[in-house]
Symmetry: C2
Subunit: 220 residues, 2 copies
Amino acid sequence: MERPASDATRQALVEAALDGFGVKGYEGTSTRNIARAAKTNIASIAYHFGSKEGLRRACAEFVVSTIRSVADAVLAPEDEAAFAALDRDVARQRITAIFERMAGFILTNPRANLVARFMLREMIQPSMALDIIYGGIIEPTHKRLCRLWAVATGGEAESEATRLAVFALMGQVLYFRIGREIVVRRMGWEQLGTAEAQAIAALLKGNIDHLIEASEEPMP
Amino acid sequence: MERPASDATRQALVEAALDGFGVKGYEGTSTRNIARAAKTNIASIAYHFGSKEGLRRACAEFVVSTIRSVADAVLAPEDEAAFAALDRDVARQRITAIFERMAGFILTNPRANLVARFMLREMIQPSMALDIIYGGIIEPTHKRLCRLWAVATGGEAESEATRLAVFALMGQVLYFRIGREIVVRRMGWEQLGTAEAQAIAALLKGNIDHLIEASEEPMP
DNA sequence: GTCTATAAACAGATAGAC
DNA sequence: GTCTATCTGTTTATAGAC
């Protein structure tokens, strides 16, 4: 696709931009700063991506391929037959396992930090980058989780209740990433490292187990 | 505190800045745009707040007083004696009522939109404004919720488990506000209005009830 | 208190040397 | 492909008229 000689520069620019856009926002990050962080010159942005906007698009595509490679390993893309054959208890175990791994990755992986901040910015101020990310990872991942959740709780995969329930589950995980600064202060932690992430993952596993259990017995 | 003659300009500047900082970010919002939106001139920002940074501080103080007035009405500041006398069932009812009202406010109130976006930006890129907001509303509110949750579930108010559990509860509510754009797309909604907020609130109420119930019976 | 005018720095984009 | 120099417009801050 690209000439190998310029791949290193492209990669460096994308990573610098991802960091800048994520922390300072798109308008708040100058192409000058991005070029400096990537150890190249301003003109190379126009050369490789056409414009600052083109660099943003490249960031979105990087996010999609990064998360895809992780999500596919955890979620394992399955066909209709595989879902139909899923046992209820197996689906439950799969879900708790998925959320535990997701929490670990989102909370502690350094690359996840880069990616999460960029995605968060796009959620507040959507651009065409959000379209790429939504279609590339958010929707397909959410759909797969809905199907698993439906098997685990005996609901319908695309019912309003199931889709909202999966968002609520995601919220429990993602808030610890989004509100990380708040959580760290309130918990009196020095940082949110692996030990702290494990405490959070344990809590989330408990919550998910309870919510699945509750789906069996209707409230009195 | 301030001369009444200039209060209108101050107020207009703060609201315009809150909107700008929330949507485009601090660096991405120019004082020119803020002044134009507030129907005044650029120099008045320096006059009233000293600098752009001073305006950011004023935004944080506005956020604190806005949320305070709402939170106090919902949470009702209580003394030690009132907490000690709280019945377990009363605490449970209070919690579900609080989260239902919180969800309604956060998801549908137009002023909450302004405030929420600003707070979210500060979480990703903390400045002294986050210090003001954290000390002014986040910590005190979280502490009060922890005490209620402890009474409802029979735990300890300041234990790690309780503090994390309350964050997870908050996450379920807040994610629907943070990821609003994503939720709307995935749900196929045209907007997130009162009808949609009620569907979300109903789901959250169910989840909270289940989690409280589960605190009684230890997992098999 | 409000506003215009302007200073000094910085933005994104691009032409053209190498 | 990489880089310097530069064009054009915008940024925050401020001086000073009213």
